[in-house]
């Protein structure tokens, strides 16, 4: 067994004013893994990232990064981490290239290596043409790219991203996903936080759900999904339907006049469902699996029921 990229033991953080940031979190992220930290706003994701990246003071607990204790050997531990924070945190009056090169120097790269790495990461993030521009004028998407370039400049073994796709358009999001997969394929461990469950399902091999400063579920993505006790199917109807049909142990909800959602218990054949629908005169024209299964799982874990979320 290789040393885990991150080991967290009993992390606790209470902010001045009494707000609980984290309340006894244990977490392990395998080296080379792609780990997703999921949770609603205020769950404690940014607090956890802040503790890991030394931006927030730890009250209690222990963090190790590739075996280096962050409290006892901060220099060795910090050198291995690249952080992409949730909020912009560069000097907007500085040119893009100087921001990245400056961070390279802070991580102890020689001026020559810093120049070479700066060129490489600006190229990787499509920022080469903007190297001399001040960061102030960049669009939101490019600001995020700048922060990713900056995080990668010292070739970290662990890349930590706090909600990297919040407020990013679909195309940019897919571009970022491809980049993260590629970096992970090259051996970089990735930890990202998100409240887009689809993103976590697409990218991460392991997940932890966090809420109220506590981890409420964790495991391999596939296994967590298998833990779902039903599949939700979306049915498009041939004719208007004014109330959800009663379908026995299959719960049905009307989304709109021509759409139904049904929760089919795992392993139950669908034939009986369609027989019953036909009997009630409901004609189904098409059928798909509702994709945000993680959302269901999340609500199942958090609230113990399958409360619906509407986009």
């Amino acid at each position: 067994m290789s040393t885990p990229a991150i080991t967290m033991e009993q992390l606790a953080k209470r902010y001045a004013g009494g707000c609980v940031g984290l309340d006894g979190v244990d977490l392990e992220v395998a080296a080379g893994g792609f780990f997703g930290l999921l949770g609603p706003n205020g769950a404690g994701k940014t607090t956890l990232i802040g503790l890991l990246s030394s931006l927030v003071r730890l009250d209690r607990g222990r963090i190790r990064v590739f075996g280096h204790d962050l409290a006892r050997d901060p220099v060795a531990a910090k050198a291995l981490i690249g952080l992409v924070p949730q909020e912009v945190n560069f000097n907007s009056f500085e040119p893009v290239g100087e921001i990245v090169a400056g961070q390279a120097a802070y991580y102890g790269l020689s001026p020559r290596r810093a120049r070479r790495r700066t060129r490489a990461v600006l190229e990787l993030l499509g920022l080469t043409d903007r190297a001399r521009q001040t960061a102030w004028g960049l669009s939101g998407g490019f600001k995020r790219r700048l922060m990713i370039a900056r995080a990668l400049v010292h070739e970290p073994r662990l890349l930590v991203l706090d909600e990297p796709t919040a407020g990013v358009d679909v195309e940019a999001r897919h571009g970022l996903w491809a980049l993260l997969r590629r970096l992970n394929g090259e051996g970089i461990t990735v930890l990202l936080t998100t409240h887009y469950l689809e993103e976590a399902e697409q990218l991460c091999d392991h997940l932890a759900f966090i809420d109220g400063g506590r981890v409420i579920a964790r495991g391999a993505t596939g296994e967590l999904l298998r833990g779902l006790d039903h599949d939700t199917l979306v049915l498009d109807l041939a004719a208007d339907c004014h109330s959800a049909p009663a379908l026995g142990d299959v719960a049905a909800r009307r989304v709109d006049t021509r759409t139904l959602e049904v929760d089919v218990p795992r392993g139950q054949p669908l034939n009986a469902l369609f027989t019953e629908l036909s009997r009630q005169g409901v004609q189904v024209t098409s059928l798909r699996n509702k994709s945000n299964r993680l959302e269901q799982l999340f609500f199942q874990r958090v609230y113990g029921d399958e409360r619906e979320v509407r986009a």
Binding site: Y15, A16, G50, S53, S54, L55, V56, R57, P74, V75, A76, A77, K78, A79, I81, L83, P85, E87, V88, N89, F90, N91, S92, E94, E98, A101, G102, Q103, A104, A105, Y106, Y107, G108, L109, S110, P111, A114, R150
Partner: protein
């Protein structure tokens, strides 16, 4: 210092230099203009009416204090504003996440302040030179006093920057504490000529010793025992530096 720390330190200092050189109209020029005005208006015009003080002309008497005024205010303001700016825009986080010990972060900010203080001090000296013919009686003591004063005020400026929550907080100490202390510390007149209680009060003003020590280095005149001044200044600087380090190491007003 390991190579990695040296590169990091160099990176921090280069950024500090770029910042104040890029905005030289705001960072370098004002002190030079102020000192020039004092030298011409007070030294040359009013000074003609003043008899020689401590054996030198009034312009010569003024020059060391004006240079010191430039050194300490620039060192102080540079560090206060760059640290506060880094908090405000959050790029202080670039330093906090990096594998840097607190003393190195302090060194980076303070070096920026010291360099700006000494640079502006040199500019003021260059301006004063044709008017006064400064002699530089004790070059070592002059340089040492300028460096120590710049360091002390850079450390103090860092402490101000740590506690500042708004732009008001970055100027309040400089305007209401520093400048009065310097003006009342014997910049414009020999403290020994004051009546009591002003003379005794002036001797409690730390700026008095810095100005007198520096004047001694430049002109050879002095009202005080300057080796003792040097020693006390060194101790106070070390203490202020330790306080600045402790604040940065704990992340006061920086890390929640």
């Amino acid at each position: 210092m390991s190579a990695a720390y040296w590169f990091a330190y160099r990176g921090m200092v280069v950024k500090q230099l770029r910042r104040f050189l890029r905005t030289w109209v705001q960072t370098l020029l004002p002190s030079v203009v102020t000192a020039g005005l004092f030298l011409v208006v007070l030294g040359e015009l009013v000074g003609r009416e003043v008899r020689a003080l401590d054996g030198v002309s009034y312009t010569e008497f003024l020059a060391p204090g004006l240079i010191m005024l430039a050194v300490v205010t620039n060192a102080y303001n540079n560090v206060t504003l760059s640290f506060f700016g880094a908090k405000l825009q959050r790029h202080i986080e670039e330093l906090l996440v990096a594998p840097l010990p607190a003393w190195l972060i302090v060194a980076g900010f303070v070096t920026g302040g010291v360099l700006r203080g000494l640079l502006v001090g040199l500019l003021v000296a260059a301006l004063a030179l044709p008017l006064t013919g400064l002699e530089l009686r004790h070059p070592g003591a002059t340089a040492g006093m300028a460096l120590l004063a710049a360091l002390l005020f850079a450390f103090a400026g860092l402490i101000n920057g740590v506690f500042a929550r708004s732009f008001d907080h970055t100027s309040v100490i400089a305007t209401f504490v520093l400048t009065p202390l310097i003006y009342l510390g014997g910049l414009f007149y020999p403290v020994g000529r004051l009546a009591e209680p002003w003379q005794t009060l002036s001797l409690a003003n730390p700026m008095h010793y810095i100005i007198e020590g520096f004047r001694h280095g430049l002109l050879g005149t002095s009202a005080i025992a300057w080796p003792a001044t040097f020693a006390v200044l060194a101790v106070v600087t070390a203490g202020t530096g330790a306080a600045a380090w402790a604040l940065v190491a704990r992340g006061v007003r920086v890390k929640p």
